[in-house]
C-alpha cells in the first residue's frame, strides 16, 4: 500500500474525541474552483444540525495566489473566526509547509500526496491522499479534472469526520442546482474520496461531527445579499454604484432580486439601477434621487468613501436623504482590498469639510443587514440627511447562518414631506425653519404642484427660506439647527444592545466584533472566573444608554478592528470629560476577522496585572 502515509502518534489515538467543536482550514490556490467544495463541506455540517461558520481569506487577485477557507463547527454556536486551526486540508504547495508548521500540537492534516508533508512534525496527524490518481479514475475528461479534484477532499473529510454522505449528496445537488451533469460528476468525486479514505486512512485524529438540531429552520446567506434583500423590501428605487470589493456583490445581488421581484404587472421596472462612472457620480445620483423623493442608495468601500466626501457634505447641508453602504475593507489607500476591517468609522462620522456629521448604523449579523437596510432609509428620510451603514468584508462577503429574516411590520417612514394641499392650508413654507423644535425642517419634493412648493437646494449659505445669505446670524442659526437635528438623531438611531450588565467592568463593541466578544466573555468567565458586561453599539450618534453604561462602569474596554481605535476616539469625543479615563482600547487590525482569543488575551493583559 505505497500510497498511504499515516503517522499516528499513539497518544493521539487515545485522546478523547472532539465533537462538533473544531475548525477546518482548506488551503488552495485562488481560481482553482475550491469555493464549491468548501461550500458543500460547510453546508453538510450545517445540515447535520451543527452551528457552523465559514470565512474566505482570499487575495486581491484573480488566479494563482494562495487562498484559505476556514470552517468552524461550534456546538455552542460560536461563529467568530477561531484563531487555532484544528484540521488543515493542504492543497497548495506554496503554503503547505507554513500552514502545517503554524498548527497547534494535536491538529490533523489532510494533504495532497506529492506535497510529502508527513516528516514536518511528529505532533500532528497526517493523512496523505493521492488526489491525481483518484481524479483520473472518476473524471475521464482531463480538462474537467481540475474542477472536481477539490470535491474529493470533501469525500475524504466526510469519512474522517463521520459526515453523513446523504447530506453531502444533498449539499452537492443544491450547489449545482440546475447543472445535473456537474452535480453527478462532483458527487462521483466525493464518493471516490470517501471510498479512498475507507480503504486507506484509518482514523487517527479526535475530530468528528455528530448530529445535533441547532440549525433547524435557519438560513445561510452573506451580509451583502441580506442587505440587498433588506433594501428591496424597504422600497429602494434608485440604486447607483461603482464596482469595488467588497461591496459589489451587494448591488449585484440587488439587481437579481429586483429583476425578479420588483417588476409591475406590465413587466416594467419599479426601479432604476445605474452603474455610474465613478463613486462621485454614484453618490451624486443618490442625492438627486433623494431630493426628488425616491429611496436612493449606493454601496461602496473605503476608497469610494474618500471620493464621496464633497457630495456627502452637500447632502448634509442641503438636507436630502441618502443611504450609503460602506462595506469596509483594509486601508489606508488601496490597503488590503480583500481583507476585513472597521477602519472607516472616524472618516465617515465627519465625512467632508466643515462641520458635517452623519448618522451611522453598525450591523453585526446578516439579519441586521436586512433590518438596517430598511432602518437606514427610514432614518435618512426622517432626518433628511445621508445615513451610512457600516458593514465590513467579513459580514458582507462571508456566509453566516441566521434565523430567517422577519418581514417588516412598519410602513415606510417618509418624514416631513409637505403636499400641495398642506401648502395651501399653510400658505407656504420655509424650507429650513425649525417648526417642531427637533431641528428637522419640512420639505417638498420637486414636482409638487403648488406655486409655493419650490425651494432652492444649495450648498452655499442659506437662511430659513433657503435664500442665499452670508449673514453671520443666518449661518449660526442654520448650523445650530443642524446640531439640534443631530441631537434628535441620537434618539432615532437603533439603541445599543446591552447584552450583559450589573458589574463594574464592561466591554463596548460593534459590528462583526460582536461574535468574538460573545465567545471571549465565555472564555473570560470559564478560564479566569471574570464576568464582564457587554454593550453592543448599533448606531451613531450615541444614545443616552451608551453614556449611562459608561457612567456606571469603572472600566470599559472598547473593541475596534482598526489600528487607531477609532470608535474609542469617537466615544471619547462624545462622553462627559470625567468619564474619558474609564475607556480602554482593544484593537485588532491584521486584516483577519477578529477572534475571541485575541480579545481575551488583550483584556486579561490589562485586568490581571
Amino acid at each position: 500500500m505505497a500510497t498511504t502515509e499515516v503517522t499516528a502518534p499513539s497518544l493521539e489515538a487515545q485522546r478523547t474525541p472532539v465533537v462538533n467543536d473544531f475548525s477546518i482550514q482548506v488551503a488552495t490556490v485562488n481560481g482553482s474552483g475550491s469555493q464549491s467544495a468548501n461550500t458543500v463541506l460547510l453546508r453538510t455540517i450545517f445540515q447535520m444540525g451543527v452551528p457552523v461558520s465559514g470565512k474566505n481569506l482570499f487575495p486581491s487577485n484573480i488566479a494563482g495566489l494562495p487562498t484559505w477557507y476556514t470552517i468552524r463547527a461550534s456546538k455552542d454556536g460560536f461563529v467568530a473566526r477561531k484563531k487555532e486551526i484544528d484540521f488543515v486540508v493542504a492543497m497548495n504547495p506554496e503554503t503547505a509547509k507554513e500552514d502545517v508548521l503554524a498548527l497547534e500540537p494535536g491538529a490533523a492534516v489532510l494533504y495532497d500526496e506529492p506535497l510529502n508533508l508527513k516528516d514536518l512534525r511528529s505532533d500532528v496527524t497526517f493523512y496523505a491522499v493521492a488526489f491525481d490518481k483518484i481524479v483520473a479514475e472518476v473524471c475521464k475528461e482531463a480538462k474537467l479534472r481540475k474542477l472536481v479534484k477539490n470535491m474529493i477532499y470533501v469525500g475524504v473529510m466526510a469519512k474522517l469526520l463521520a459526515l453523513d454522505m446523504k447530506e453531502v449528496e444533498k449539499a452537492i445537488r443544491r450547489q449545482f442546482a440546475t447543472k445535473v451533469k456537474a452535480a453527478d460528476l462532483n458527487w462521483n468525486a466525493a464518493q471516490a474520496g470517501h471510498d479512498y479514505a475507507v480503504q486507506n486512512l484509518p482514523k487517527q485524529d479526535p475530530f468528528k461531527i455528530e448530529r445535533m438540531n441547532k440549525t433547524e429552520g435557519q438560513i445561510i446567506i452573506d451580509g451583502n445579499a441580506a442587505a440587498a434583500l433588506g433594501a428591496m423590501f424597504a422600497g429602494v428605487s434608485v440604486v447607483t454604484w461603482y464596482p469595488i470589493t467588497p461591496s459589489s456583490s451587494l448591488v449585484e445581488n440587488l439587481i437579481e432580486y429586483m429583476k425578479e421581484h420588483r417588476l409591475d404587472a406590465d413587466g416594467k421596472a419599479t426601479f432604476a439601477i445605474v452603474q455610474a462612472e465613478d463613486e462621485l457620480a454614484a453618490v451624486g445620483m443618490v442625492l438627486g434621487g433623494g431630493w426628488m423623493g425616491a429611496r436612493a442608495m449606493t454601496a461602496t468601500a473605503g476608497p469610494g468613501i474618500s471620493l464621496m466626501g464633497e457630495f456627502t457634505g452637500l447632502g448634509y447641508y442641503v438636507e436630502v436623504p441618502a443611504v450609503i453602504w460602506d462595506v469596509q475593507r483594509v486601508g489606508p489607500s488601496t490597503g488590503l482590498p480583500t481583507r476585513t476591517a472597521q477602519g472607516d468609522i472616524m472618516k465617515v462620522a465627519n465625512l467632508s469639510h466643515g462641520d458635517a456629521r452623519h448618522p451611522m448604523l453598525f450591523p453585526h449579523s446578516v439579519a441586521e443587514c436586512f433590518e438596517f437596510a430598511g432602518a437606514a432609509f427610514d432614518l435618512a428620510e426622517t432626518l433628511q440627511t445621508p445615513v451610512f451603514v457600516m458593514s465590513d468584508l467579513d459580514l458582507g462577503m462571508n456566509n453566516w447562518m441566521s434565523e430567517p429574516f422577519a418581514y417588516p411590520t412598519q410602513p415606510l417612514k417618509r418624514g416631513k414631506v409637505l403636499s400641495a394641499e398642506q401648502l395651501t392650508q399653510l400658505g407656504g413654507f420655509a424650507r429650513y425653519k425649525d417648526v417642531d423644535g427637533d431641528g428637522i425642517p419640512y420639505r417638498t419634493v420637486p414636482g409638487t404642484k403648488h406655486p409655493q412648493a419650490a425651494w432652492f437646494a444649495r450648498g452655499s449659505g442659506h437662511n430659513e427660506k433657503s435664500q442665499y445669505t452670508e449673514r453671520p446670524d443666518d449661518y449660526v442659526n442654520n448650523m445650530d439647527r443642524l446640531a439640534r437635528k443631530f441631537a434628535t438623531a441620537r434618539k432615532l438611531v437603533p439603541q445599543a444592545d446591552i447584552v450583559q450588565d450589573g458589574g463594574k467592568v464592561g466591554i463596548i463593541a460593534y459590528g462583526t466584533s460582536h461574535h468574538a466578544i460573545v465567545e471571549s466573555l465565555s472564555q473570560l468567565l470559564k478560564e479566569y472566573g471574570v464576568g464582564l458586561d457587554y454593550l453592543r453599539l448599533k448606531g451613531f450618534p450615541f444614545g443616552e444608554e451608551v453614556h449611562d453604561y459608561i457612567a456606571r462602569h469603572d472600566r470599559v474596554y472598547v473593541v475596534d478592528q482598526n489600528r487607531d481605535h477609532q470608535m474609542f476616539d469617537l466615544l471619547k469625543l462624545d462622553i462627559k470629560p470625567e468619564h474619558v479615563t474609564k475607556l480602554r482600547s482593544v484593537r485588532h487590525y491584521n486584516g483577519l476577522p477578529i477572534d475571541a482569543r485575541s480579545v481575551t488575551d488583550a483584556i486579561l493583559a490589562q485586568e490581571v496585572k
Binding site: Q218, I219, I220, L229, M232, F233, A234, G235, S237, V238, T240, H261, R262, D264, D266, K268, A269, T270, A272, V274, E277, D278, L280, A281, A282, V283, G284, M285, V286, L287, G288, G289, G290, W291, M292, G293, A294, R295, A296, E310, F311, L314, V318, P404, F405, Y407, L412, P446, G447, K449, H450, P451, A453, A454, W455, F456, A457, R458, Q467, Y468
Partner: protein, 346 residues
C-alpha cells in the same frame, strides 16, 4: 359709456404671464453674458408654455451655475458641487422622469472638473437641456483660464494660454448627445429659437453658449477694460465699483459671418450655419466644427440632431408612474415573497 379697464397682462397657452417665469435679482456683474442667457430662458419657457413646477433647474459651481436663481422662481432648483451637476440631474430624472431638467454649467465646471460627468451624461442621452455658459475663463475664482480658452488668449495678468481648447460641441456629438448647438449670448433671435427647439427635444440637448465675462476678459490695451473705466470714472474709487457695460447684441443671417467687438476689445468672428445644413449628419457636423477651428471662426447653429435615439430612461424600461411617486404597495414585495426567498437560502 366706455370704461377703461387696466390692460390684462399677456398670458401664454397655460395662462401664465412672463412674470411667472422670472427669478431673483441677478448678483452677477452688469453686462455679464450669463444674464442675457437667463432672459432668453425665461422667454423661451414662457413661450413654450412650460409649467414652472415641472422644471428642475440644475447647476454646479461658478458664476454661471448661480444663474438658476435668476430665472423661474417657481421651479425647483439644485445648486450642487463643482462639475457634478450631471450626476445629481441623472439621479433626479431617474426618480421622476416627468420633470423637465435644465442644467446650467460653466466652461470650467463642464470642461475641467466636470469633464468626466459631462461625457457620461452625453453618452447616456439623459433627457435634459444642458447649457454651458462659455466665457473661456473662470469667473467666480477671478479669471483663471478654462479648458475652452483659445490658444493665444491672454489673461488679465498677461499669461498666455498655450493649450488647445476643448470643443464641447464636438465632444458632445461624439459622446452621443442627440441635440448639439452653439450660440452666442448676445444673439437674441438665434438663442431664443435654439432654446425652444431644445425644450421640445426628447434626449440631451447640449448648447454651448458663448457668454462674455466683462470682468476678467479685460486685459491691458482694451478701451473697455476695468482699469480703463476706473481711470475715467472720476469719483468712484469704491471697492465694489463695477463698470457698467452694455450687453452685446448681434443680429445676422444664416450662412453669414459677423464680427463682434468683445468687452476686452478683442473681436469674435461668429459664423452661422447655412439654412440648408443637414444637422442629422454626425460626421459632417464634427467636420464642420473642426473646419471652423482652422478658419478661426466661431461657428454657431444647431450642429447635430437625432430625435430618434433612445434615451437612458427608455433603456431602463421603467413604470410610467415616476419612481418617486410609487406607493408602498408597489415598492415592497409581499410577505410571501420574502418567505419564498428565505426558503431558497435554507
Amino acid at each position: 359709456m366706455a370704461t377703461t379697464s387696466a390692460p390684462q397682462p399677456k398670458t401664454n397657452h397655460i395662462g401664465l404671464t412672463v412674470l411667472d417665469y422670472r427669478g431673483g435679482k441677478t448678483t452677477l456683474c452688469a453686462g455679464c453674458g450669463h444674464n442675457a442667457i437667463s432672459e432668453r430662458i425665461i422667454d423661451a419657457m414662457y413661450e413654450m408654455g412650460v409649467q414652472p413646477e415641472e422644471i428642475i433647474k440644475m447647476s454646479g459651481i461658478g458664476c454661471s451655475s448661480k444663474t438658476p436663481a435668476y430665472f423661474m422662481s417657481r421651479s425647483f432648483s439644485f445648486n450642487s458641487v463643482h462639475g457634478r451637476m450631471p450626476a445629481v440631474t441623472t439621479g433626479a430624472v431617474l426618480a421622476n422622469q416627468k420633470m423637465m431638467a435644465i442644467g446650467i454649467s460653466g466652461d470650467g465646471d463642464t470642461a475641467s472638473i466636470g469633464m468626466g460627468q459631462f461625457v457620461h451624461l452625453m453618452r447616456r442621452n439623459i433627457p435634459m437641456i444642458y447649457i454651458i455658459e462659455d466665457n473661456g475663463v473662470y469667473g467666480l475664482t477671478k479669471g483663471q483660464f478654462s479648458a475652452t480658452a483659445d490658444i493665444g488668449s491672454k489673461l488679465k495678468t498677461g499669461v498666455i494660454n498655450d493649450l488647445p481648447p476643448i470643443d464641447t460641441c464636438a465632444l458632445a456629438i461624439m459622446m452621443g448627445a442627440t441635440f448639439v448647438g452653439r450660440s452666442f449670448s448676445g444673439d437674441k433671435k438665434q438663442l431664443h429659437t435654439m432654446l425652444k427647439a431644445a425644450i421640445a427635444h426628447k434626449g440631451t440637448a447640449m448648447l454651448d453658449v458663448i457668454s462674455p465675462c466683462v470682468t476678467f476678459n479685460d486685459h491691458e490695451g482694451s478701451t473697455k477694460s476695468y482699469k480703463f473705466m476706473k481711470d475715467h470714472e472720476e469719483p468712484l474709487h469704491d471697492l465694489n465699483f463695477v463698470p457698467y457695460f452694455e450687453e452685446i447684441n448681434v443680429d445676422y443671417d444664416e450662412g453669414t459671418t459677423t464680427a463682434v467687438q468683445m468687452h476686452d476689445g478683442s473681436k469674435l468672428l461668429l459664423k452661422k450655419l447655412e439654412h440648408d445644413y443637414d444637422p442629422k449628419d454626425k460626421i459632417n457636423a464634427v467636420h464642420r466644427i473642426m473646419e471652423s477651428h482652422k478658419t478661426g471662426e466661431m461657428l454657431t447653429g444647431v450642429f447635430y440632431v437625432n430625435p430618434d435615439a433612445p434615451s437612458f430612461l427608455d433603456l431602463l424600461n421603467m413604470t410610467d408612474t415616476p419612481l418617486a411617486q410609487l406607493p408602498e404597495s408597489t415598492l415592497r414585495p409581499s410577505k410571501a415573497t420574502l418567505e419564498a426567498i428565505m426558503e431558497e437560502y435554507r
